[in-house]
Symmetry: C3
Subunit: 432 residues, 3 copies
C-alpha cells in the first residue's frame, strides 16, 4: 500500500516545472560536452580516489576526455552501492538512452559516444532543462563576475561572498575587489562603499540572492568602523602576514556589512553552515573539504536578531544540526530551511531531515531542494532522489500517520518545491 | 499488516487512565475559558509570529479573546503542516465536536462559540480530565507558591527551582525567598536552611518532585560553604552587579543543596537539560528560547556519582543528546529517561528517541511521556501523538522485528506510561 | 512484502561463514564454562545494577557460579525489553536448546544444567564456532601477551595499545614494557625501538591489526624526539606524579609511533573513538564507561594526512558521529567504517548508521560488523541482530527504494561482511 502510495505521490510531484535555487552552473557552458564532464564531477573523482585511484592519475593534465572516462569507469564497480553512482545511472538512462544498470569497462564507450552525440546538439542545454523540468537555475557568481552575455531569467545571478569574507587578506582578492569597483578600499568606509557597489551591480543585473559557505567555528558579530579601519590598515600594510586577529576582525566586518546590504537591496542571504575547507590536503580537486559537526545556530543568534528584515535561508552540512535548524526556523521569522547540502544530500539523511522540518516548521518557510550542480545534467537525478524521499515522508508521515488526503500532501510538496522558491527569491525568479 | 497492528496497539494503549508527570497547569484555572486560551499557547503565537504576524499585533493589550482568535486563525493556513496545528484540530474534534479538518476564517466563529459554551460548564475541567483519561497532573510551582485551595491528589505540586538556581542574584527573587521563608538568608548556612524549609512546606503539601530546566553550558559541582558565604555576601552587597563568578558560585551552591534535599525528602529531581533562554530577544512571550545541541551528560557525571540515592528523571532538549541519555540510564541506577521535551516533542523525534530507549534502557527506568501543557485541553492530542508513535515503534521494532506477542508489547507500554510514573513519583501520585 | 523480502535476504546472509574482526576472546578459554560466564557479561551485570541490584551483591567474591546466576536471573524481568536480553534468549535457544522466551526464577536451573552439560563437552568451543558460522575471531592482546599456545589461524592476534598510549606513566605499565622488550626505555629512541620490537613479535605471530580505544578529547599530533625525551625523563624521575603536560606529550609520541609502525608492518590501525573511562565510579566491573558525544573526526585530520599508507578502520561510540565517519570514509582513501560499537550496537542505531554508510561510502571500505564478545557464545545472537538490520536496510533502501535485484543486495552484504574483512586484515585472516 505504502509503496504504490509513494509512487502516486512521486508521479504528481515529478510533473512540476521548477526553479533550482542553488547551483554552480556556468551560464556560458551550462551543460556537458562529453561524459568526462559528468564523471569529472568531484563526487566521482573523490570517491574513485577514496576507493584507491591515485590522484595524479585522475588529475593528469595529459588525459583526453575519453581517457579520463576510461580511467574512472573501472572504479565505479567499487562505488556502485552509492547514491552518487545511482545519479549517474539514472541520468544516463534518462538523458542518453542508456539501457543498462551499470556503466562498465565493456559498455562505456558506446555510452560515451551516445552522450557526446547528444551533447553536440546546439540546443542541448535547453533540452536538458526541459527534460529536467527546470525553468531557471541560480548561479554562484564570484563578486567580480561580469553578469552579461546570458539570459538572467534562466540563469539567475547570485552574489557568492566567501572570498570577500574569508580571503580579503589575500592581495590577489583585494586586487580583484579594487578592479571590480574601480578603487582600492582604504578605510572601512570605502570598503563598505565598494561592497555596496557590488550589490548595486548584482541587483541591477537580476541577482536574487547573496550566499556564503561558512566554517563551523564562525560566529558573526558586528565590528566597529574604527576596529575595521585598523584591521584594514594592517592588512594593506602586511598582506597575508596580517595577524590573525586583524584578519578575523575584517571577516566579521565584511560579513556584517553584507547582511546590511542584503537588507538594503532586499536580497535573501543564503547561509551554508559548517564546512571545513582543505581538511584532506592531498585530496582531489574539490574533494578536500569535510566538517566538524560541533556547530550550533546559536552562533548566529546575534545576526538573526540584528537583521529581522533579512531572510536567511539556511543549509546545514551536518544532519545533527538539522533539529536546531528546525527550531530556529520555527521561532525566528527571518530564518528558513534551505535544501539538503552535500554530505547531508543522501537519501537517509534527506528522509530524516525533511521529516523533522515538515512536521514543525511553517510550510511557507521551507525551500525543499537545490541541486548544487556544476553541469545541468545532474538536476534530473538529484531532484528525483529528493522527490522520492519527499514522497516517502509524505506517504508515511502525513497520509498514513496523520490521515491526510493525498491531494493535501501533494499541495504541501508544491509549496516547498515551487511556491516558496518563487516568493522568497522574488520577482526575477518568478519570471524565470 | 503493520498499519492495522499499529492501530490495535494504539487502541489498547489509549484506554488507560494516566498521570501526567509534568505540566504548567494552574490548579485554580486548569482549563481554558475561551479558544483564545488555546490559540494563545506559545506554540501557536510563536509559529504565527514566525510565519509573519507582527508581535505587537499578537501581544496587543487591547485584544479581546475573540479578537485574538480572529487575528491568529488566518495564519493557521501557513502552519497547517505542523504537528502543533494537528494538536489543535484533534482537540477541537474530540473536545468541542468540531467536524472539519482545518480551522479557517470561515468556520472559526462557530467553533469559538461551541468551545466557549462547553468551557462555561462548571465541571468543564473535570470533563476534560475524564475525556483525556487523566487522573492527576503534576504542577510546576514557583518556590513561593501557596499550595492550598486545590485538590493535591489531582493537581500534584512540584517544586520548580529555576529561579533559586539562576536568579537568586535578582533582588526581587531574594525578597521572594525571604518572604516565603520569613527571613533573609545571610549566610550559606541560612540559605541552606531556607531551602530546607521550602522542601518541608512542599513535602507537607504533597509535592512529588523537584524540577529544573538547565542551560546547555551548566555543569554542576559542589561549592564549599566558605565560598558560598563569600558569594552570598557579595550578592547582598551588590545585587545584580555581583560579579559573574560570584553568581555562578551561588548557582552551583544552590543546585547542589537542592540535590541534597531531594535525597533527604526522597523526591526525584527532574532535570530538563539544554535550553538557552531568550535567544530570540524580539520573540513573542515564551517564544524566545532555543538551544545549543552541544551539550553532554558528562557535565552531570559528578552529580550522578555524588547522589546515588536521588532519582534523576531526565529530559533532553536536543534529540542528538538522546543516545547519551540512553547510555547514562543504562548504566547509572539513579538516572532515567523522562518524556520528550519541547523541540523534541514532534513525531519523528519521538519515534527516533523512544526506539533507542525501548531497546536498551531497563523498562523500569523510562517515564514515557508528559504533556508540558498550560491548559488541560492539550493533554489529549499530545498524549495521542505520543501513543501513536509508541504504537508504531512497538509494532515495527518489537512485534515485527523481534517477534514479540502483541500483549507483551502492550505490557511494555503500560510499564512506561503507568507503572513507572506511579512508582517513581510515589504514593501521593499513586493515590491521585 | 517487505517483511518476506527481509526474511529472504536474511536467510541468504545468514549462511556465510565469517571472520569476527574484533573480540575480547581468551584463546585459552574461548567459550563459557557455566551460565555465570554468560550472565556475568558486563551487559547484564551493569543493567542489573542499573535496575537496582547492589554492586556488592553482584561482585561478592563468595558467589559460586550458580549463585551468581540465581542472583541475576530475577533482575532480567526489568530488562526484558532490552536487545541485550534478547541476545541471551536467542543464544540459549540456539545453543542450549532452551524452549522459552524468558529466563525466569522458575526455569533457569534446568537451563543452567543444560548449558553446563554442553559446555563441558571437550569440543564445545569448536561447536560454538561452527554453529555461529565463524572461522576466525580476532583477539585483543595486551602488548605483553605471549602469543603461543593457541591456533592463530582461528584466534588471530591483535595488538591492543591503550596501555601504551594512556598508561605508560604508571610504573607498573612501564615495567611490563621493560619486561616484554627486555630493557627499560630511557629515551624517545629506545622507547621507539621497544615499540618496534612489540610489532616484530606480534607480526611474527600472525597479528593482523593494531587497535586502540580513545577518549573523545584526544586529538593526535606528532611530538618531536626532543620533547619526548624530556617527557620520558620526567616520567622516569617522577612516575605517576609527572605533570599532565609531560604525560600528554608521551601519549602523543607513543600514538604517533604506533601509526608509524603500522605503516612499516602493513597493519591496519583500528581506532575506536569516543569512550570516557570510569565516569560512573561506583559502577560494576566494565560498567563504568560512558561518553561525550561532542567529538569530531577533524581531531584525526592530521593523522589521516600524515599516514596515507595506513588503513584506519574506525568505530565511533556515538551515533551522532556516524555522519562524519561516512564523510571521512567517502573522502580519505585510508579511512573506513568498522562495525557498530557498544552504545551504538543496538538495532535502531545500527539501522540508522548502516543506512548512511551503505548509501555513500565505497562498498570496499566498510567492515560490517564485529561482536566485541568476551565469550564465543555471543557471536551468534549479536551477528544475528546485525544481519537482521542489514537485511532491513537492504530491503527497504536498496531493493524497494532503488529497485535493486535481490541478488545485488545480497552481494553488497557479502562484500561488507566477508570480502572486506579478508582483504583489509590480510592473508592470515584469509587463511583462518
Amino acid at each position: 500500500m505504502s509503496q504504490t502510495l509513494r509512487d502516486r505521490l512521486f508521479d504528481e510531484i515529478d510533473q512540476w516545472t521548477l526553479i533550482d535555487p542553488h547551483t554552480h552552473i556556468n551560464p556560458n557552458q551550462p551543460a556537458s560536452e562529453t561524459l568526462a564532464d559528468i564523471l569529472g564531477y568531484h563526487y566521482y573523482t573523490e570517491l574513485a580516489h577514496s576507493a584507491g585511484l591515485p590522484r595524479d592519475r585522475i588529475e593528469s593534465p595529459d588525459l583526453s576526455p575519453k581517457e579520463k572516462v576510461a580511467l574512472l569507469v573501472p572504479t565505479l564497480e567499487s562505488l556502485d552501492n552509492t547514491v552518487q553512482v545511482s545519479w549517474l545511472i539514472e541520468m544516463t538512462q534518462q538523458l542518453f538512452g542508456f539501457k543498462g544498470d551499470r556503466v562498465t569497462a565493456s559498455n562505456w564507450e558506446s555510452l560515451y559516444e551516445a552522450a557526446a552525440q547528444r551533447m553536440r546538439q546546439p540546443n542541448w542545454s535547453t533540452q536538458v532543462l526541459e527534460k529536467s523540468r527546470l525553468r531557471a537555475v541560480f548561479l554562484t557568481n564570484d563578486f567580480d563576475d561580469r553578469l552579461d552575455g546570458f539570459d538572467s531569467a534562466i540563469y539567475v545571478p547570485c552574489l557568492r561572498t566567501d572570498d570577500l569574507v574569508f580571503k580579503l587578506s589575500e592581495p590577489e582578492v583585494l586586487q580583484r575587489l579594487a578592479r571590480a569597483t574601480s578603487r582600492m578600499p582604504e578605510s572601512a568606509e570605502s570598503l563598505h562603499a565598494a561592497i555596496g557597489s557590488l550589490f548595486e551591480y548584482f541587483s541591477a543585473h537580476g541577482a536574487r540572492a547573496c550566499a556564503i559557505s561558512l566554517p563551523p567555528g564562525f560566529a558573526p558579530s558586528p565590528v566597529s568602523k574604527t576596529a575595521a579601519d585598523r584591521a584594514l590598515a594592517q592588512l594593506l600594510a602586511r598582506g597575508s602576514d596580517a595577524d590573525p586577529a586583524a584578519r578575523r576582525e575584517l571577516s566579521h566586518f565584511v560579513f556584517w556589512t553584507l547582511a546590511g546590504f542584503c537588507a538594503d537591496f532586499n536580497l535573501p542571504f543564503d547561509l551554508m553552515i559548517g564546512v571545513n575547507r582543505n581538511v584532506y590536503t592531498s585530496g582531489v580537486y574539490q574533494g578536500r573539504d569535510l566538517f566538524d559537526s560541533r556547530v550550533s545556530l546559536i552562533q548566529y543568534g546575534e545576526l538573526f536578531n540584528a537583521f529581522p528584515q533579512v531572510t536567511f535561508p539556511i543549509s546545514v552540512l551536518a544532519s545533527v544540526t538539522n533539529q536546531e535548524l528546525v527550531a530556529y526556523s520555527w521561532i525566528f521569522p527571518n530564518v528558513m530551511t534551505l535544501g539538503h547540502w552535500w554530505y547531508s544530500n543522501t537519501p537517509s539523511m534527506i528522509e530524516h531531515d525533511a521529516a523533522a522540518r515538515l512536521e514543525a516548521v511553517p510550510k511557507t518557510k521551507q525551500i525543499g531542494y537545490y541541486s548544487d550542480m556544476y553541469k545541468l545534467e545532474f538536476a534530473l537525478p538529484k531532484f528525483a532522489m529528493y522527490k522520492r524521499m519527499l514522497a516517502k515522508v509524505l506517504a508515511e508521515r502525513f497520509v498514513i500517520d496523520r490521515l491526510w488526503p493525498e491531494d493535501r500532501a501533494v499541495a504541501l510538496a508544491r509549496q516547498i518545491l515551487c511556491e516558496n522558491v518563487e516568493r522568497v527569491f522574488g520577482s526575477a525568479a518568478a519570471q524565470g
